[in-house]
């Protein structure tokens, strides 16, 4: 028999005396939360379906092409030649990334407003610009990752199937890296700011996604109609309002494969001017989001 008796200790309240990282820490937390939110991580299973389905769709062609390129000997078929596939993969990814942005941007901004989380965040050591910058960085991270992962697979395929061996293959394929980064930035500029602006103004995720897709597709159809039919004097400049076409044309230009059928070519506008237009439109969209959040936070 023991004389020891159990005891319950109330540990009470433990004050925190550790590091406080202020605005920098707050921004980093909001950025990381944004990435998780878009990908549905640490959320219910049904929230993971759409983002991962789109990621799978974007990855599948790259996986199949690279897999076949490894199996089929070089020179047997040009169909599986990966050397010039970057532009076409971006073009395919660009369309899917439009859908991904329609999903991501509303997810990043709307729940915080709908659930009232902004009222909590407005008492934290950060400004509305800090919050928006962190969320914008999340949007760029997930969309950029979405565009880059197939290209990374492609790069591995290009290097791995190089007749001179893997190491020499990496060296031979290295010049594509800055081009890949540049085209990723172009597609991000084409879609992310616009999705962000619409999500900062609309109260429901599904409506924001629909409006985003309607604006992109509507602008493209409008520009196509005006430019191809030459219905307005100076109407060719409307080609700059079509973000998909502009990004695709810029993609081809960066990878050195000019497409004479593109809308910009039909309007006789150089792709570099198209990129400048994307930057101007994107900047304006970001400014609208900043203005809106200065009112809200």
């Amino acid at each position: 028999m023991t004389t020891d008796r159990g005891a319950v200790y109330d540990l009470g309240y433990e004050p925190y005396h550790g590091e406080r990282r202020g605005r920098k820490g707050a921004r980093l937390t909001i950025w990381a939360d944004g990435n998780r939110r878009v990908l549905g991580l640490r959320r219910k299973a049904r929230r993971k379906v759409m983002p991962w389905l789109l990621i799978a769709i974007a990855l599948l062609p790259a996986i199949v092409s690279v897999g076949i390129a490894f199996i089929v000997p070089a020179g047997v078929s040009n169909e599986f030649n990966l050397a010039d596939a970057n532009a076409s993969f971006f073009q395919l990814g660009g369309t899917i990334v439009m859908l991904f942005t329609a999903l991501a941007a509303p997810e990043l901004l709307i729940p915080d407003r709908r659930y009232g989380v902004l009222s909590m965040l407005s008492s934290r050591p950060l400004t509305s610009s800090d919050y928006l910058a962190a969320r914008f960085a999340s949007n760029i991270t997930v969309v950029g990752g979405f565009l880059l992962i197939p290209q990374i697979l492609l790069f591995i395929g290009q290097a791995g199937t190089d007749p001179d061996g893997l190491v020499q293959g990496i060296i031979n394929s290295a010049p594509t890296i800055p081009r890949i980064l540049a085209v990723t930035a172009i597609y991000i500029t084409a879609f992310v700011p616009l999705g962000f602006m619409i999500s900062s103004l609309v109260q429901r995720k599904s409506i924001a996604a629909s409006v985003f897709l309607a604006v992109i597709i509507g602008l493209t159809a409008f520009a196509e109609a005006i430019v191809r039919n030459s219905v307005l004097p100076g109407g060719r400049w409307m080609a700059l309002l079509a973000p998909i076409n502009t990004a695709d044309a810029a993609n081809n230009w960066v990878f050195g494969s000019i497409n004479n059928d593109s809308l910009l070519a039909a309007a006789d506008i150089h792709p570099a001017l198209g990129i400048a237009a994307l930057v101007v439109i994107g900047s304006a969209a970001v400014m609208v989001s900043v203005w809106q959040y200065r009112r809200l936070m």
Partner: protein, 302 residues
Amino acid sequence: MPDTAFTTSQIGYAYGSVVALHSLDLSVPRGRTGLVGANGAGKSTLIKLLLGILTPTTGTATVLGMDTRTESIDIRSVVGYMPEGPCLPLDQTAADFLIYAAGTAGLPKQAARQRASDVLTLVGLNEERFRYLGDFSTGMKQRAKLAQAIVQDPKLVFLDEPTSGLDPSGREEMLDLINRLGSFGIDVIVSSHVLRDIERTCDYVVMLDEGTLLNSGPLHPEGDTDAVRIELIDGADRISQELRNAGAEVEGDGPRLTVRYGEGDVFDLVRDAAARSGASLLSLSASGSSLEERFLEREVRR
């Protein structure tokens, strides 16, 4: 650390043409303070001004010695805020949300995890930490809101209508939690239109009405501890006589009397006098007038 939780000097705020606060001058000591007033009195506006969420139309304010106009980020590093409205992401678990809330206050990841766990235990949600906030009851949501306000270990916490929407037992639990915050070294500013909640939790009060200051001061003024207020069903004359014979001062007539007695426990004296005289007591309370009475009295004077 300054002696005051916050000060205001001629602070005012207007939503467009609607003036929410009229030139308030306040100096509120550290401890537990209640902001009292009816809906629309300006309590929430005052809190938002103190947090630097709103910029005052006129005047200035300091919180823990820091200027709300120029040092709002520094203020928000050391204060917590429980808003009156919803602030919980319903698609997150309580644990994930608390980690996020701690991170947005600048705590590193590991510390945020530890604090989230500790605070969820403190507010009684430890067992529910992996449940989604959307599945929480109103009482649990209010506790989660309180948890996010203190997860970063603030020096001062603003609680805007913390008992709003709670049933009586939930209200009691929330008031107990608020009372405990003081013992953790956290100063508390509680806004409420329920005067009994303020009486239960605070030792200083600021009364607002339609954006103006009615009164501010200690909730239980010193000097009234040897006086009681009694209300009788019958036997007022007999008990008055008994009390005077025992050396007490008796004021008032009819069924409501105020009794002062400086030579012993006034409550015991009233009890004994009631027993001897056969008078029937309806109520017996400390004579420091209740907050409700003080509030109504001030309103009438205006």
